[in-house]
């Protein structure tokens, strides 16, 4: 009896210890850590040689762990909402293109997500667990980068943006949309702005544009209380500048310069809680960028969290957080077209171009694609138009008066996804204007077809 009792007792202890071990094995041992990118000394621009490290903010000096062993370069880490997966851009060898990699923080394993011939960078997790990233390419001999999405294993690759822009630095807003920096590259290069769009590539629109030649140079990250933090600069090819915040509710007109009056520069920012941020900052150009806490209410740099010999940038807090909304998709690949409607092309905040006749009332539009002119369409008496366009083909629009003189435009590049239906108040109308409640005359009949793929009926077919 005594022996049996001892045996049971020992078995119970063994089971208990084994359970504890199993539980702890399943735990993410980096909970509460900061993951960041350490750049080699003297390397401010290129990410070659960058390393992913994890640091315990409570005990930074003694807790540094290298997460990107065997990588020539690893950067741009982003954490999944459940806190388990880390995605980043990485390359094993110097000559490799950048690809997207996934690290399972529980299993401590790393796997490759993309295997493409082009550079793939700036990943972010979508709320449904897919990954969005930027893929370099070219169009009309101009370098661009385009947003794509795929599953965590790289399958089901889908293109999301279709304009000749450099799209990168994505993040996901709480409302489920993708926020990204975008700068037109063709036919002329323009400064980056923040655009926002749904995760299926529909409904892209302006989110933020800098003032007086300034533009975002980092991704924008939204805090729990609805403020988007980012870095802004007014110099091209610079990845540092001032710390900015905008209110997600009214992003175009709520800009606050948090670094006003502060010496030094910022490179990255992520919001924490209680008006605190974690920033990559250097007080002077003689010092490397390091991680600091920042009080956004007092607009003060607080204590240093971690520093290294080289720049430390792109911090991420390892903790689970509330998942953004999963937005439904109306994209239907079976339908190769989209529908575009404008209420009144004369509703615009852009001044009309000077014309010989001084007639600034537009009564028609010209539609252009990358290859050039497509077609001209007369609008209705109320200024409305209603078009059926090829999906995933970028177009631009110019408005003209009855004499054929250009009044406004060309517009920014627009694309519609398959089965997307989009409405505009005007042509470059105030983006904060909601539509008038009236039936646009143009929708009382079938849409005018503008297509290179379809016969256009009463419109001339565009020759390839």
């Amino acid at each position: 009896m005594r022996r049996r009792g001892k045996f049971i007792y020992g078995l119970a202890i063994f089971i208990g210890v084994a359970s504890l071990l199993c539980v702890s094995c399943n735990n993410n041992s980096l909970d509460g850590f900061i993951v960041a990118v350490e750049l080699p000394v003297g390397n401010e621009i290129s990410r070659d040689g960058a390393a992913l490290i994890a640091v315990d903010p409570i005990n930074p000096e003694k807790s540094v762990r290298l997460l990107s062993e065997n990588f020539h370069g690893a950067c741009e880490p982003i954490l999944s909402n459940n806190g388990r997966y880390l995605i980043f851009s990485g390359k094993m060898k110097q000559d490799d293109p950048w690809q997207i990699w996934l690290r399972d923080l529980q299993k401590k394993s790393t796997s490759r997500v993309t295997d493409l011939s082009e550079n793939c960078t700036d990943p972010a997790f979508l709320p449904d667990g897919k990954i969005v990233f930027s893929r370099s390419g070219s169009i009309k001999d101009t370098e661009i980068s385009t947003l794509y999405k795929c599953n965590m294993d790289g399958s089901e690759l889908q293109q999301l943006t279709f304009h000749p822009h450099r799209d990168c630095a994505s993040s996901i807003l709480k409302d489920g949309r993708i926020l990204f920096t975008s700068s037109q590259q063709y036919p002329i290069a323009k400064d980056p702005v923040f655009l926002v769009m749904r995760p299926d590539g529909t409904k892209s629109e302006i989110f933020y544009k800098g003032n007086q030649g300034a533009f975002p140079v980092s991704n924008g990250t939204e805090s729990e209380d609805g403020f988007v933090y980012f870095i802004e600069s007014n110099q091209q090819n610079l990845n540092r500048g001032k710390l900015m915040v905008i209110n997600q509710n009214r992003p175009l007109h709520s800009r606050v310069d948090l670094s006003k009056g502060l010496e030094g520069e910022f490179r990255s920012v992520i919001p924490l809680s209680d008006n605190r941020c974690l920033v990559s900052y250097r007080p002077s150009s003689n010092e490397p960028f390091a991680l600091f806490e920042f009080d956004s209410k007092e607009q003060k740099v607080l204590a240093q969290v971690y520093a290294s010999e080289g720049d430390v940038v792109d911090p991420v807090m390892i903790r689970a957080r509330k998942r953004p909304r999963i937005l439904p998709s109306a994209v239907d690949p079976e339908n190769p077209t989209g529908l575009l409607m404008s209420q009144d092309i004369n509703q615009s905040m852009i001044p009309a171009k000077g014309s010989a006749s001084n007639d600034t009332v537009a009564d028609r539009i010209q539609v252009f694609r990358l290859e050039g002119f497509m077609n001209e369409v007369e609008v209705e008496e109320d200024g409305s138009f209603y078009l059926k366009v090829d999906a995933d083909i970028p177009i631009r629009i110019v408005t003209l008066n009855h004499k054929g003189e250009a009044i406004r435009g060309p517009s920014d590049w627009i694309w519609l996804r398959s089965n997307e239906r989009r409405g505009c108040v005007g042509c470059h109308a105030d983006p904060e204007l909601s539509p008038d409640n009236r039936v646009p005359q143009a929708v009382r009949q079938s849409p005018v077809v503008i297509s290179v793929k379809m016969k256009t009926g009463n419109l001339k077919e565009v020759e390839e």
Binding site: L252, R325, L433, V439
Partner: protein, 681 residues
């Protein structure tokens, strides 16, 4: 042997059980798939079958009697708060300092507003579903008199000298003026459509009456809602001010200085193809302002922001110094604090053209909205303390009052009204129906298009396949639990499917309801929505002579020439009691040019009198037009042989049709096929 037998029996039982579980599981999955139209809804029998019980023992067991505070009034010394319990049919007297209910006085059915006499000895409570106003002696805490005027009494305003009581009648669309000396209705004045609120100007010269629904207009017009201004000296309507492109003006107030009359309102975008929600494409919310001076401006300003909307503004109160206004947003659980000095400045410096633009501008609110205060679920009526330091807010779906400090703009405390602590599944569903959190950027709640779980009287361009096609008249949610299918085209067989994934893809454009939320929403829609009594046309079931004649027309089988009316073209075939729908698809010859070819789900006729306009696309503004304008070929019942008085009688009968519960014993069983079936009356 015994052991072997036991093993065999156990084995057989296990096999039977396993088969039952697997096979039963498959059947259950198929059943749930049919109901919900998704293949991953949890197989929880109770979540559907228990929480959708209506009137039986189980339903009584799981339901609760909530209070649902609606409007408030406060004594002049701030020591007594009077709260209308809309669902408990009570007037609650609350000590706001102690934070406790001190008295409960039973009032009529669905009370709406409470107003105190100037001497505070008497309270007047409008009972919207009893068609009367109770006069309550506050000292004795009992009803001493009953006033009767128009139908659906709602808002109340009392003259400064306690001489007259103005009562807004929401169903008969008029205002009763009662002489408080003899408690008789002295006069009745026509107002806008579905008026709900009344407010005296501080000088007592005018009463402003705000309305919810649009005035009758040519088909395809944007809504126009009337603010009726009465002259209190002549007791006549002095002005009918029209707010264009606006409706649901729930409450009106006048600033202490009298310079502005302000109402909450919604600016719908029902005529625009519903192809997106971004940038205020479906609904915007704000206030309407009337400058009370010669050539004063009348403007509308939004309270929304470009990426954040403040759905369903309900009440508005102005601080005693006239500098700030507070607006409760029932759809987003927020109070907006408005700087009225900025509003006045905006009015002064802006041209008419600019103000016209501002009425659609989502960024303009940053000029005058100074704060947004979070509240509990579904904030409704509000009242300020006499010193202006505290704002009391009825949190309707929390059964409590929030007390907000107007300096810190934070909730200091909440006062429980001693409602049930348990939130039932249906109550949760009601909270979801009233909350805009499940539409993109909180732009609108189900309640927005279905106020009081009814319909808003508008036709929407739902942009089915192409834009500009398949216009849809909003349908009521009352009684729909028992009458599938749903949508005018009958495509959704269950409420689960109606409010499921497709709903989020096409209408709300954000993440769909979770399974648990959908269960709750369905439970509320099926069990929690009550039909108001039809006191206006059929208060007690005894039909008038005209209604009886109309009933005979409704049930006739031969036309005026003695020809037999085909069975499938008789009124009662498609519209049999108790719900007056056979729940089938039909073609009554009402397809328009903008409709795709389709048949329509037969709508119910219960309380049809308050569901104008009619037909799937709202093209018939009144019931008469169904037969005078839209039935050339007698496809919607045989009507071309009718004399005008027969048609009038038929309409009177239709208007008398009330809640389905009155017709449960009066059913007619018909089949939609051409063969004549057994009929029982």
């Amino acid at each position: 042997m015994k052991l072997l037998r036991t093993i065999i029996i156990l084995g057989l039982v296990s096999i039977i059980l396993a088969y039952g579980i697997i096979h039963g599981g498959k059947k259950a999955r198929a059943h749930v798939y049919h109901i919900t139209a998704v293949d991953d809804h949890p197989l929880k029998c109770l979540s559907c079958h228990l929480s959708t019980q209506k009137d039986n023992f189980l339903a009584r067991m799981i339901s609760e009697e909530y209070i649902s505070p609606y409007n408030l009034s406060l004594s002049q010394d701030g020591d007594q708060l009077y709260v209308v319990g809309q669902e408990s049919n009570q007037l609650l007297v609350v000590d706001p300092h102690e934070g406790a209910v001190v008295k409960k006085i039973d009032v009529g059915n669905r009370p709406h507003t409470v107003e105190l006499s100037r001497d505070e000895r008497t309270a007047y409570v409008s009972n919207q579903w009893s068609d009367n106003i109770f006069v309550i002696d506050l000292k004795e805490a009992r009803v001493t008199d009953t006033l009767s005027g128009g139908s659906g009494p709602a808002g109340i305003a009392i003259s400064a000298n306690d001489e007259y009581l103005y009562v807004v009648n929401s169903y008969s669309s008029d205002i009763s003026i009662f002489d408080l000396g003899n408690y008789r209705e002295k006069r009745r004045l026509k107002t806008g459509n579905n008026p709900v609120s009344a407010a005296f100007s501080p000088d007592g010269k005018n009463v402003y009456v705000s309305s919810r629904r649009t005035i009758p207009l040519p088909y395809g017009s944007p809504p126009v809602t009337e603010m009726t201004v009465t002259d209190t000296r002549s007791q006549r309507v002095s002005e009918r001010l029209m707010f264009e492109n606006a409706y649901i003006m729930e409450n009106v107030t006048v600033t202490p200085s009298g310079d502005l009359a302000i109402s909450t309102l919604i600016r719908p975008k029902n005529l625009i193809p519903a192809i997106q929600v971004e940038k205020g494409w479906m609904m915007t919310h704000g206030i309407g302002i009337i400058e009370r001076k010669e050539d004063g401006k009348m403007v509308q300003l939004l309270l929304d922001e470009p990426n954040s909307y403040y759905a369903d503004p309900f009440d508005i109160v102005v601080s005693t110094d006239g500098k700030q206004a507070y607006v409760s947003h029932s759809g987003v659980d927020r109070i907006s604090v408005i700087d009225l000095a900025e509003i006045r400045k905006l009015l002064e410096e802006s041209t008419e053209e600019q103000l016209q633009t501002y009425s659609n501008h989502l960024g303009i609110s940053s000029r005058y909205v100074v704060a947004r205060i979070p509240t509990g679920a579904n904030p409704k009526g509000m009242v300020l303390s006499p010193d202006g330091k505290l704002l009391y807010v009825a949190e309707r779906l929390e059964d409590r009052i929030a007390v907000i400090n107007t300096s810190s703009l934070e909730t200091e405390k909440t006062i429980s009204l001693d409602g049930p602590k348990r939130i039932t599944v249906a109550r949760h569903g009601r909270q979801l129906l009233n909350n805009a959190g499940r539409t993109f950027h909180n732009q609108y709640a189900c309640y927005t298009c279905h106020p009081d779980a009814h319909e808003d009287g508008l036709v929407y361009n739902m942009a089915g396949k192409d834009m500009g096609r398949n216009l849809a008249n909003v349908q009521t949610l009352r009684d729909i639990g028992d009458i599938p299918p749903y949508k005018w085209n009958g495509k959704n067989q269950t409420i689960y499917k109606q409010d499921g994934m497709r709903f989020s893809t096409i209408l709300t454009r954000t993440e769909s309801f979770s399974h648990k939320e959908l269960d709750a929403l369905v439970a509320y829609i099926v069990t929690g929505i009550k039909n108001p009594p039809n006191l206006r046309y059929n208060p007690n079931g005894e039909l008038t002579a005209a209604q009886k004649r109309g009933k005979m027309v409704f049930y006739r089988e031969y036309d005026n020439f003695g020809n037999e009316i085909p069975v499938d073209n008789r009124c009662y075939t498609c519209h049999p009691p108790p719900y007056f729908t056979n729940m089938e698809m039909t073609d009554v010859g009402t397809l328009s040019e903008t409709d795709d070819p389709m048949m329509f789900d037969v709508p119910q006729l219960t309380n049809i009198y308050e569901s104008a306009p009619y037909l799937h696309d709202g093209s018939a503004p009144t019931l008469e037009e169904l037969w005078t304008a839209f039935n050339d070929e007698d496809k919607h019942g045989v009507g071309n042989d009718m004399m005008k008085d027969q048609l009038n009688d038929l309409v009177e009968y239709l208007k008398s049709i009330r809640d389905a519960s009155h017709y449960m014993n009066d059913t007619m069983i018909y089949n939609a096929s051409t063969s004549n079936k057994k009929r029982k009356r």
